[in-house]
């Protein structure tokens, strides 16, 4: 591959889909920005955050101070903990129903609202439309996540407008954390542009109708971003806690496991047990599609994160990546049934989206993977580090129930 470069510190390649720059010393922008986590005065930054949210606090306690988008996984417990218990705000939680819900995720989400004693709004978009969109984007773009990303990023904004609660509080900014798109000091806020560009592959709701004949206004209107004048009237503003708090997902999740019994699970395709436990597909088919299209998968993101936090070496990270990225998916049956497509169709789509840079068809229907992990400069033949990476697994995705999506769960203690 032309001009392919790798970061010397983490495992990212110059082909990173969010864009990445590698400097003259061979260190990527993600690692450079990560250095700020050890050089910034986080006490000072937290005080800045306190001052920032202060004007949004309701005087009489009769209004919500902010909106917090949550799910049954992914930092939600820590975010609500910071917002409610440390900053003393009164949040309205909102969650977008992804339909691929694991019993564990439903349980975590119920636990979240009960333990923190919060009000929560659920958005459920009519599933026929969601399936239509998902089938179309799966075929054309190899993605089963558009509605989820669109819903997760727009529902809080729509709620801010309809409930007239201007402040939305997010956790970490993905562009900053992965590729150092911004410095913490830029104090980047939520923008419609970032959502369209990076969350939605350049396609907003209205673009879907022009791209796909099968989709209509009826299918997509719920994913439409509010107009600028509505946002301005309410003063809608989305901030990221990661700009003011030294963001460390592993440490944060472990604190939440201890304090609030956050439940975790093992995965086939990664060593991390904390992220994405609420979804049957994120670490499954969605992850496989990522491997096909980009030559690497989520385990690389996890490894880079842990390398940067100094918990594993680059070599150990690469080992983990090579081990986990080729593992099979476990929940194919569920997605086939839910989408109403056959295994043959899915295999056809999976093959269609194999990036030829990383996949060679050695025989009909047989593919050889030559992904980014294989193209990495060969590491030294050091003695393998068998150190345990220490992620606590205290439950399972299905919670010993059927391995079926909980389309709509009322939760249980």
């Amino acid at each position: 591959m032309k001009n392919l470069k790798f970061c010397k510190r983490c495992l990212y390649a110059s082909t990173h889909p969010l864009g990445i720059s590698i400097d003259q010393e061979g260190i990527c922008s993600g690692c450079r920005i990560h250095e700020e986590k050890d050089s910034l005065d986080w006490n000072e930054r937290f005080e800045k955050l306190r001052k920032l949210v202060e004007p949004y606090k309701s005087k009489n306690g009769d209004k919500y101070d902010c909106i917090v988008p949550v799910s049954g996984g992914q930092d939600s417990f820590y975010i609500v903990h910071l917002v409610k218990e440390v900053l003393g705000l009164n949040p309205l939680l909102v969650t977008y129903n992804k339909y691929y819900n694991t019993p564990l995720g439903i349980n975590n989400l119920a636990n979240l609202r009960i333990k923190f004693n919060c009000s929560i709004l659920y958005q459920n978009v009519n599933p026929v439309s969601v399936k239509k969109i998902t089938r179309s984007t799966l075929h054309r773009f190899g993605s089963i996540y558009w509605p989820i990303l669109a819903g997760h990023t727009v529902f809080p904004v729509q709620t801010a407008v309809s409930y007239q609660v201007p402040l939305i509080i997010w956790g970490a900014h993905q562009g900053l954390e992965q590729v150092g798109m911004f410095s913490h000091s830029h104090e980047v806020e939520m923008t419609r542009r970032y959502r369209k560009d990076h969350d939605l592959m350049g396609l907003e709701a209205d673009d879907l109708i022009s791209v796909f004949d099968t989709l209509t206004e009826n299918d997509i209107w719920q994913y439409r971003y509010p107009d600028d004048d509505q946002l301005q009237k309410i003063g809608v503003r989305g901030i990221y806690l990661g700009n003011y708090v030294r963001w460390d997902p592993k440490a944060q999740h472990e604190e939440m496991i201890e304090k609030y019994q956050y439940k975790t699970s093992r995965f086939n395709r990664t060593f991390d047990c904390y992220d994405y436990v609420d979804c049957f597909n994120y670490m499954d088919l969605h992850d496989l599609l990522k491997l096909h299209k980009h030559g690497y998968s989520k385990v690389t993101d996890h490894a880079c994160r842990e390398i940067r936090h100094g918990r594993i070496s680059r070599e150990h990270g690469l080992e983990l990546v090579k081990k986990y990225e080729i593992q099979p998916i476990e929940f194919e049956k569920n997605i086939l049934e839910w989408l109403g497509i056959t295994k043959i169709s899915l295999d056809f789509i999976l093959n269609r989206h194999r990036n030829k840079e990383f996949w060679n068809e050695v025989d009909i229907g047989r593919w050889e993977f030559n992904g980014l992990s294989a193209l990495q400069p060969s590491s030294s033949n050091e003695q393998r580090m068998q150190k345990n990476i220490n992620f606590t697994e205290n439950a399972s995705l299905s919670l010993n129930l059927e391995k079926e999506y909980i389309i709509f769960g009322k939760g249980f203690p």
């Binding site: 969010l18 864009g19 990445i20 720059s21 400097d23 922008s29 562009g175 590729v179 150092g180 798109m181 911004f182 410095s183 000091s185 830029h186 104090e187 980047v188 806020e189 939520m190 923008t191 419609r192 542009r193 970032y194 369209k196 560009d197 990076h198 350049g202 209205d206 107009d227 600028d228 004048d229 509505q230 946002l231 301005q232 809608v236 503003r237 989305g238």
Partner: protein
């Protein structure tokens, strides 16, 4: 009276929209079309597409990008700069959708060409882009290809005063990308008489800077890059906070679906 302008800059390197710091360091932002379309929605007074890796590789202008952009159905004036080598490039850039062009190293190497371009497209369509610095009491122009600073400002002044080009983009290249750091001394040291002929760019992030620069007679516009990507409605917020409300166009908050 004519309004002063807030110009949104999209810097493009390797096909990516990037944040640029001091002409040395770059951070990714995303697809240029997404940033450009966003500035259009925000009602930027002009959008400047600055492609920075064309001149060095003699690739000519990025027509592919311009074609992509013309399909976006923008309603905002576009300035294009990057890789324009001669009159034919200049004409083609306008034909592909730009309203005005920015010339940098080209004009210094071939001063005759610039007259021809001006006669064909009109002085109003041409901006000369000059990275400058003010050190030890001396104003300099930076040549980013030779990596040297020249103290010869006269030829630049002449071109502006002659009316061959309409405006000069004065770039504080050292402070570019950094907060609140545009060096006012560069503007003060220019000594150009022609009113409204300077666009200030580089390290302009704060409302106070925008206010004080736009109040100068020789400044017709400020151009802002990186920091526009840090928050929603960045252009509108700047306009809202201008002290003299009649100096700039009102901020726009679209309520019509395009």
């Amino acid at each position: 009276m004519i309004k002063k302008r807030i110009i949104g800059v999209v810097t493009v390197k390797n096909g990516w929209a990037v944040q640029s710091f001091g002409y040395k360091r770059y951070l990714p932002l995303g697809k240029p079309e997404c940033l450009i379309e966003n500035l259009d929605r925000w009602g930027a007074d002009e959008i400047f597409i600055q492609v920075i890796d064309r001149s060095n590789s003699n690739l000519g202008p990025d027509f592919e990008l311009l074609e992509k952009v013309s399909r976006l159905r923008l309603e905002t004036p576009l300035i294009y700069g990057g890789g324009i080598r001669n009159i034919s490039d200049a004409i083609q850039v306008i034909k592909t959708g730009a309203d005005r062009i920015s010339l940098d190293s080209t004009y210094r190497k071939m001063p005759d060409n610039i007259k021809v371009i001006s006669e064909t497209l009109g002085a109003q369509a041409i901006i000369i882009s000059t990275p400058m610095s003010f050190d030890s009491g001396m104003l300099g122009v930076y040549d980013y290809q030779k990596l040297e600073i020249s103290l010869d400002i006269d030829s630049t002044r002449d071109i502006i005063n002659s009316g061959i080009v309409s405006e000069m983009l004065v770039i504080d290249y050292k402070n570019e990308g950094y907060k609140n750091s545009f060096n006012r001394q560069i503007i003060d040291g220019l000594m150009i008489k022609k009113k409204g002929s300077v666009i200030a760019f580089g390290g302009i992030t704060e409302d106070e800077q925008v206010n004080s620069l736009l109040n100068l007679d020789i400044v017709s516009a400020v151009a802002i890059g990186n920091s526009l990507s840090y928050r929603e409605h960045a252009i509108q917020m700047i306009k809202k906070n201008i002290e003299n409300k009649t100096l700039v166009r009102k901020p726009i908050f679209q309520s019509l679906l395009k």
